[in-house]
């Protein structure tokens, strides 16, 4: 029998606000344990949460970018459970009335587009962290670090619309692209600022009824998400084939074995006893607020792709590559505005620049070759001052020194020779030296033309204008 996997993702996005969601403490990563805490995020008796409206703004951004409806009134709820890293014994989240509802995103599937539904986006606070082992003052004990407690999260919940691990990854990457693009999350999966749980079930192909699902918790890289889902699909199919039944449970992915294992079953599932948090008033978002956030939204990748192909005449493929991240797209656009040649800039950004970035591991916003420098370089090619080949040399030098391309060309004497007299002189010299090959060429071995071009370019140290070389060589050889 054939099986159809059904997958839904719950993505946790840590927001880049300066302060926490319900108090004024800093959200900076990596500070001394418990140095960024106050009565509120420590859950001391008598402390009360006060909502940080920046979080709502970020949530509205995410909602608008994923085609959600923004709820005019949403409420906070308490999710009750005991854990030492959860100071109040409950997490403030949203349950029945979240801030964003009913959105969607299109993902690329086998060359076509597939629409994935987004059930909801809600705001919540993160928990602290347990630290085990060698802690000062505690031998072989466990400590609680509450710096992360009360940092803001969005949970983006998809509909069970995904049908394979690849679709799940495509969707996850899309969300990752959007939240980093919006500047509301740094997207760092290793540090846990972007993490996801996957709900996976399988059903006989063609069936309309979903199978029982298992939830796989907190997987921290795209690769592992794919592995975890693939393994889980396989496990469930094997189980059914062997006459077993899938049970509803929470499973953990083990990156070492590439497998998932049971964490807790349905019977041990928490009853979170959600109820509206009486310490917080309902969050009311009027139209003006939504409109203001909408007007401040950056152009999103999809819109940019359309505009790049239209305005700069580049292929859709190029536009997609160039919009992989917002800084890259902005780099491209800045450069093209200065230079005007969309395709040439695209080739350079996708080619030399990407290569250099990959080689050095630098991020594009710290790239030594600024869009202006690259545009200058391309101008030198367009004006015939240097050849494309020489330009690569100049690019490498710019990367090293950050110098103006014109200056590099001048200092290293790299100006293209477009003087036909000078080129003819070189050609004459080469043809005289290579008389044998000339004879062969003239007797019909026209393949040798490339050889002559190479010799001339070499003799000119690459500076001869290639088009002129071609033209003059052809003329001389056919004389």
């Amino acid at each position: 029998m054939k099986y159809q996997p059904v997958i839904g993702l719950e993505i946790h996005v840590q927001l880049l606000t300066d302060s926490k969601i319900f108090c004024g403490c800093s959200t900076k990563f990596g500070a001394e344990p418990n140095s960024q805490t106050c009565p509120v995020c420590l859950g001391l008796p008598g402390a009360l949460p006060v909502f940080n409206e920046k979080v709502a703004e970020f949530a509205i951004k995410a909602g608008l970018a994923t085609n959600c409806t923004i709820s005019p009134r949403s409420i906070f709820a308490r999710k009750n459970y005991f854990y030492p890293d959860l100071p109040k014994g409950y997490q403030i989240s949203q349950f029945e009335e979240p801030i964003c509802l009913k959105g969607w995103l299109d993902i690329q599937v086998d060359g076509g587009l597939k629409r994935i539904g987004i059930t909801r986006i809600h705001m919540e606070e993160d928990a602290g962290k347990l630290v085990h082992g060698d802690i000062s003052g505690l031998e072989d004990g466990s400590g609680v670090d509450l710096n992360r407690a009360c940092t803001p999260l969005l949970e983006i919940v998809s509909e069970p619309d995904l049908r394979s691990a690849d679709e799940a990854i495509a969707y996850l990457k899309k969300i990752h692209q959007i939240v980093t693009w919006l500047g509301i999350c740094d997207g760092n999966m290793e540090e846990g600022s972007f993490r996801c749980d996957a709900n996976v079930s399988v059903m006989p192909a063609g069936s309309q009824t979903f199978g029982t699902r298992a939830e796989i918790k907190n997987v921290n890289s795209f690769k592992f998400v794919k592995q975890a889902i693939e393994h889980e699909i396989e496990r469930q199919i094997d189980l059914i084939e062997d006459g077993g039944t899938v049970v509803q449970e929470t499973r953990l992915f083990d990156p070492n074995s590439g497998k998932t294992r049971s964490m807790r079953g349905k019977e041990e599932a928490h009853d979170y006893r959600y109820f509206p948090d009486p310490d917080l008033v309902p969050l009311v978002i009027d139209d003006a607020w939504v409109q203001r956030v909408r007007s401040e939204l950056p152009e999103l990748p999809e819109q940019k792709i359309m505009r790049f192909t239209d305005e700069y005449g580049i292929p859709a493929y190029d536009a997609e590559v160039l919009t992989a991240s917002r800084p890259l797209a902005e780099y491209y656009e800045e450069c093209v505005t200065l230079n005007g040649n969309g395709k040439a800039v695209s080739n350079w950004v996708m080619g030399e620049l990407t290569r250099a970035l990959n080689d050095s591991g630098a991020s594009i916003d710290k790239c030594p070759v600024t869009p202006r420098l690259l545009a200058e370089l391309l101008k030198l090619i367009d004006s015939g001052t240097i050849s494309g080949k020489i330009a690569k040399t100049v690019f490498d030098e710019m990367w090293r020194s950050g110098k103006e391309p014109g200056k590099i060309v001048e200092e290293q004497g790299l100006i293209q020779v477009s003087d036909s007299g000078a080129i003819e002189a070189i050609i004459d010299e080469i043809l005289a030296r290579e008389a044998e090959q000339v004879a062969e060429y003239r007797s019909g071995k026209e393949k040798l033309f490339g050889f002559f071009v190479g010799q001339v370019m070499k003799a000119s140290k690459g500076k001869a204008n290639p088009a002129l070389v071609n033209e003059l060589l052809l003329k001389k050889l056919n004389e």
């Binding site: 008598g46 030492p84 014994g89 109820f275 917080l280």
Partner: protein
């Protein structure tokens, strides 16, 4: 009999401080001596902050010498042990917080302190404010100064007893279902539960967040107005505190209530009401008639459901509010625990008393999956109906007059094993908390065996002025508030 310093009200002591007849240090010493002399009998204090009080009084005296004074400069006050006080142990009457020294103070105390008030100490209460008799305190009950075999009421029992025993010029309490008004009534003092949102809850240990409200317990209505004026107002640290202007409550005490429309809800004057309470109410109505008030018979039809509704909403919120007492970061941690879950379980089992455990269990049940709609959601719907009862009633009347409690103070131990009977002692106060509006309790008479009986005036939301004015007019026309418990 000459007036002792400890017998003075805030406004009387304030005048003597202003005129330099008495210094704050003298007044504070007098109160501390009074506490020392009477508290073995009453048990209203959990912690007496003697040195801090004298140091604060010295600072106040310097302010007085410099002519920089307000109504509260140098006035010795005490707080229910539910208010966080920086550096001063705050137990909430519970073993689980027996060693808790908070790193910050409640906004309401900050405000009083900022106006020069002196802190005498922290007052006994029912554990986590859960109780109507002060018997659930892990420090043992405080006693009624009018008859030390009786309960002072609860949960702010210590706050009421301390005022009645003249151990503090005034005190603060909290009221979730009657916890200020019922003990005020039992001890013969004035107690006000302000409108929900009128006073900040920041730094007040939460019992039921949607019901808890801070308020004063005082000798007379003027003092009540003074304290309310000092603690009311928006607090950016409490999202549920309301940003509405704070009127001059003292100025509202004009003595004139001619034409005031007072509602008498038929559901509050039921058969089985204690005859002394009944008689006291009848006298009070007569007094108000003479003062020129008009009476209107009204109905608050959902009154019967109030106690059940309260014990679902309050316990549900409490079950969550008290989850933070897990032995991890502060408070009692069981020394004989084996592992994490055992540590949390044992710390809570050892730290919480019987009544607190009972309410956590009821609340947990009410929020549980499968029961949530039937209990919590239903209770919220009934709460809305009760709120509407009051909205409709206030279309016809300015103030509603009721008894505070169905009986005068009962004997210690009398109801401790019968939680339902205990819960019913708040039957007339609970609806006000559910509706979120304000109400005041004031002395209105005595039972045949000499126990105080209070009268409750319920006002429109954020209209504390009207109930204060009506209470003040009654006080002017009677002398119940001048009677003193002999100790």
């Amino acid at each position: 009999m000459p007036m002792e310093i400890f017998d003075l009200t805030i406004h009387e002591l304030h005048d003597k401080l202003e005129s330099k007849e008495v210094s704050s240090v003298e007044a504070t010493r007098a109160m501390l001596a009074r506490i020392e002399a009477t508290d073995p009998k009453i048990g209203s204090f959990i912690t007496v902050t003697k040195e801090q009080a004298l140091a604060d009084a010295e600072v106040a005296d310097r302010c007085i010498a410099d002519g920089k004074t307000g109504m509260l400069t140098g006035i010795p006050l005490a707080l229910k042990d539910i208010f966080l006080t920086e550096g001063v142990r705050t137990t909430c009457g519970s073993r689980i917080l027996h060693n808790f020294i908070p790193p910050y103070s409640a906004t309401s105390w900050e405000k009083l302190k900022g106006q020069g008030a002196v802190l005498l100490g922290k007052l006994n209460q029912d554990e986590f404010a859960m109780g109507s008799s002060n018997e659930s305190s892990c420090f043992g009950p405080s006693r009624n100064p009018w008859n030390t075999e009786c309960i002072p009421g609860g949960s702010s029992g210590g706050s009421a007893a301390a005022v009645a025993a003249r151990q503090a010029t005034a005190t603060l309490g909290t009221d979730t279902g009657g916890s200020i008004r019922q003990p005020a009534s039992h001890c013969g003092c004035v107690g006000l539960k302000p409108t929900y949102g009128r006073v900040s809850r920041y730094g007040v240990i939460a019992y039921a967040s949607s019901l808890d409200q801070v308020g004063p317990l005082t000798r007379d209505v003027t003092d009540c107005a003074v304290i309310l004026g000092a603690i009311a107002g928006h607090d950016p640290k409490d999202s549920t505190s309301v940003d509405a202007p704070v009127p001059d409550y003292k100025a509202a005490l004009t003595g004139n209530i001619k034409g005031l429309r007072i509602g008498l809800p038929k559901e509050y004057f039921i058969e089985g009401l204690d005859p002394d309470v009944q008689k006291t109410m009848a006298q009070a109505i007569e007094t108000y008639r003479k003062l020129g008030a008009d009476f209107v018979d009204i109905s608050l039809p959902h009154t019967d459901f109030a106690v059940a509704t309260y014990y679902l909403i309050a316990t549900a919120e409490a079950s969550s509010n008290l989850a933070r007492y897990d032995g991890v970061r502060f408070g009692h941690r069981s020394p004989q625990a084996d592992g994490l879950i055992d540590m949390m379980t044992k710390s809570r089992s050892e730290g919480f008393g019987l009544e607190v455990k009972r309410r956590i269990m009821i609340g947990t049940y009410a929020l549980s999956s499968g029961y949530y709609d039937a209990y919590y959601v239903k209770a919220q719907k009934v709460r809305t109906l009760i709120m509407h009862d009051f909205i409709r009633a206030f279309e016809e009347v300015d103030v509603i007059l009721t008894p505070v409690a169905p009986t005068p103070a009962f004997k210690i131990g009398e109801k401790i094993n019968d939680p339902l009977q205990m819960y019913l002692s708040d039957i007339f106060t609970i609806p006000v908390n559910l509706a979120g509006t304000c109400a005041i309790a004031l002395p209105a008479g005595f039972s045949a065996n000499g126990l105080p009986i209070g009268l409750q005036l319920i006002g429109k939301p954020f209209n504390e002025e009207t109930i204060l004015r009506a209470a003040h007019a009654f006080e002017q026309a009677t002398d119940w508030h001048n009677r003193k418990a002999e100790l």
